[in-house]
């Protein structure tokens, strides 16, 4: 569970799709299941729901492995989007059962054009660079505010900062992130 390179993760999904390789699934599960569960827990899901949604995420990864295109995106992105969508479905509850099947991971809203594919290929590394270019404080605040969806007041309490400071840090970190990503355009 300690390390899994992006290339290795991508290869595992390809193996699952090609050979129905359960060993590949087990390795991918070992790395991603505890992380998907952590993402859900940090976003406020109760432990039983986090466990369930993380299980469902990994099962979808298995069932939809042949929809994964290693040319156009990273395994981490693909798995994250599946987990996020299952989380949203859960948050929305049973109000909109028809939407449960609208899973962007299997049905991209538009087929990628040639230039989109080219852009997306370079994307992984550039996003990694953009994240690395943030200061540790900025990366932390993006993680807390956006990835864990924690309110300003909560972040202010846990970091021991005034509310106003937290708000302006969020804004600055987002501007910085965005301008770094902009270079890729």
């Amino acid at each position: 569970s300690a390390r899994l390179t992006p290339q290795a993760a991508s290869d595992l999904i390809v193996k699952m799709a090609r050979d129905g390789d359960r060993q590949a699934f087990a390795v991918l599960f070992g790395f991603y299941f505890p992380r998907v569960k952590a993402y859900l827990l940090r976003g406020g899901a109760p432990p039983s729901a986090a466990e369930e949604i993380a299980q469902e995420t990994m099962l979808r990864v298995w069932r939809k492995a042949n929809a994964f295109d290693p040319q156009t995106g990273a395994a981490s992105t693909w798995i994250f989007v599946i987990a996020r969508n299952l989380r949203i479905d859960r948050v929305r509850g049973e109000r909109a059962p028809n939407e449960l099947e609208l899973d962007p991971s299997e049905e991209p809203d538009a087929p990628p054009t040639g230039e989109m594919v080219t852009i997306m290929k370079q994307r992984g590394d550039r996003v990694r660079e953009a994240l690395a270019s943030l200061s540790p404080e900025q990366a932390e605040i993006i993680r807390l505010f956006y990835f864990e969806e924690r309110p300003h007041s909560d972040i202010a309490r846990s970091l021991g900062l005034p509310l106003g400071t937290v708000k302006s840090r969020v804004r600055l970190a987002l501007e910085r992130l965005r301008s770094t990503l902009e270079d890729v355009r």
Binding site: S1, P6, R22, F25, A26, F29, Y32, F33, P34, R35, K37, A38, Y39, R42, G43, A50, E51, Q55, M58, L59, G73, A74, S76, T77, W78, I79, F80, V81, R84, R87, I88, R92, R95, A96, N98, L100, E101, D109, A110, M116, R123, G124, R126, V127, R128, A130, L131, I142, R143, F147, E149, P151, H152, K167, V170, R171, L174, R178, L181, R185
Partner: protein, 218 residues
């Protein structure tokens, strides 16, 4: 979208990419993504960022039995798929040459309601507390300075408008919240059709009421 930062386009896209948004805001962002290739690129990168944060998150504790449970479930049939959404039955007439984006083709949309001279709107049926509706305003109309009760996103579907020093054309997304006071000038040539999402505590009728009030005051 409550009690958060005054939304910017990036803020909204990042939140949609990271955790998703309530139905009305989600519908609006997906419409923006359909109409705006540049936003799709940014959003895709934000999703990639989500993947990186997922890789880096400190793993949760996991029972040893979790893997076996998953392995045992691999061969099980996936849960039965819900029947496809029933055909949309209600749909207000659109002006000639106006085609709704595919994000809206799945939605039940109520009839046009008259708001003020040259202004009409149609509610989109959603189960969420947040609301979405179409708003059409006639060419050349100026909407006087007004405030907002909460977060409010607008995506232009046809025509365009200017507000402050920016112009918003088809596919552009405008973000406002309680801190924003602005006036709007609809482009002179064609009516402007927009999709609007707003927080649940804001009743559209209250906004319409104010709008109507403003128009009467002119």
């Amino acid at each position: 979208m409550t009690a958060r930062l005054s939304p910017s386009v990036d803020d909204v896209l990042l939140r949609h990419a990271m955790t998703g948004l309530d139905d009305a805001f989600s519908l609006l962002v997906e419409t923006h993504l359909e109409l705006c290739p540049a936003a799709r690129v940014v959003h895709a990168r934000f999703e990639a960022l989500g993947g990186l944060l997922l890789e880096a998150v400190e793993p949760a504790n996991v029972e040893p039995a979790a893997l076996n449970r998953a392995l045992a479930a691999l061969d099980a049939e996936p849960r039965p798929v819900e029947p496809p959404a029933k055909a949309v039955t209600t749909r207000p007439d659109m002006r000639k040459g106006v085609k709704l984006p595919s994000t809206l083709s799945r939605q039940e949309i109520g009839p046009w309601r008259w708001i003020a001279p040259g202004v009409r709107s149609a509610r989109i049926a959603l189960p969420s507390a947040s609301r979405a509706f179409l708003l059409e305003i006639g060419p050349g109309v100026r909407v006087p300075e007004h405030g907002h009760d909460g977060a409010e996103l607008t995506c232009v579907l046809h025509g365009g408008f200017s507000s402050a020093d920016a112009h918003y054309g088809v596919g552009d997304m405008a973000c406002a919240d309680a801190s924003v006071v602005h006036d709007i000038a609809i482009d002179p040539d064609v009516p402007c059709l927009s999709l609007i999402a707003m927080e649940g505590r804001t009743r559209p009728s209250s906004m319409f009421g104010r709008l109507y009030q403003k128009f009467r005051d002119i």
